[in-house]
């Protein structure tokens, strides 16, 4: 059981976390726009998350907290 927390308003929608995830847990939101005007990342399959923190490792803006 893993838990992902995003500082959604700091996300710049670069997608590096999405590509880093080995379990296809993440995607950039298609309908939401954050305060910065980006489509932020969201977890669409959090149940598949293995807490490897690859997403957070690649996130340039340090917006992801990973817990297990």
């Amino acid at each position: 059981m893993a838990k992902l927390t995003f500082k959604t308003d700091l996300c710049k929608g670069c997608g590096l976390c999405v590509n880093a995830c080995p379990k296809n847990v993440l995607k950039l939101s298609q309908d939401k726009i954050n305060k910065k005007g980006h489509h932020p990342v969201e977890a669409v399959n959090e149940k598949d998350c293995i807490a490897c923190a690859f997403c957070a490792t690649m996130c340039p803006d340090c917006i992801i907290k990973v817990e297990r």
Partner: protein
């Protein structure tokens, strides 16, 4: 629940001004993680000169100094000589370190000044909008090389680690990159060693981080990371170029 990953303490809780997908943010975080792990935040002084990272003083919790373009190694020399117990690092881009500040870089290395240099090589001047850098690749199109960098006109890119490795002075020179999870982890190891060397009084350590600039390269963040593999690394091979303590430099 146990925390597997969170923002390091040494990184301020403020948004970065960097463009989406810019790897500066990753390297900032690695430096901050290392500062945390070594427990040195309270005695660390960071120096960021002109370039995209000039505002790094807002991003690190340790004391920070903004320096003139290219002059960070000289400023660091002053800070370290004033208070040798401080841990002093510079965070410099390629235009800064390998062009306008070449002399300061070479001589701080030659003196084996006991400082840590984090060198971001993304082959372009990012802050001013994408001009040709001393590290821009042959043929690379930039604002000031619109027909591609022509080595006949403007010479060949400078390989900093290779150049400095010819000096007797420096302790440790390594080139890393941050375009994949594995590479980020290796980069962190190198950065940690560069700080540990300073703590151990070993002298000048420089970590060159081959980085991306999606905005000025005109690519998506993901493609920019791929471009590091296909275009940057063939010219800038990863590896340890000098390591006096292990004698395993190339």
């Amino acid at each position: 629940m146990a925390v597997v990953f969170d923002k390091p303490h040494a990184l301020c809780d403020v948004p970065f001004h960097y463009c989406p997908g810019c790897t500066h943010g990753i390297v900032h975080r690695l430096v901050a993680e290392v500062i945390d792990e070594l427990g040195i935040e309270g005695k660390t002084i960071g120096i960021a000169p002109v370039g995209c990272s000039v505002m790094a003083y807002d991003y690190f919790e340790c004391d920070m100094i903004e320096a003139a373009h290219g002059r960070a190694p000289a400023v660091a020399t002053g800070v370290k000589r004033a208070n040798p117990n401080n841990i002093v690092f510079t965070y410099q881009g390629d235009g800064d370190l390998a062009s306008i500040g070449t002399a300061e870089t070479v001589h701080a290395a030659a003196r084996n000044e006991n400082i840590t240099v984090i060198f971001i090589n993304n082959a372009i001047y990012g802050m001013t909008g994408g001009q040709m850098a001393p590290t821009s690749l042959p043929g690379q199109v930039t604002q000031t090389s619109p027909y591609g960098r022509d080595p006949k006109l403007c010479g060949y890119p400078v390989r900093v680690c290779e150049m400095l490795s010819e000096l007797e002075g420096p302790e440790y020179l390594e080139r890393v990159t941050v375009n994949s999870v594995k590479n980020v982890k290796n980069a962190k190891k190198a950065i940690k060693k560069a700080f540990q060397n300073q703590i151990d009084g070993k002298g000048f350590s420089l970590i060159e981080v081959v980085s991306s600039c999606p905005t000025n390269w005109g690519m998506t963040p993901e493609n920019a990371l791929k471009w590091i593999d296909t275009n940057m690394l063939p010219y800038y091979p990863l590896g340890v170029y000098k390591d006096r303590s292990n004698k395993e430099g190339k």
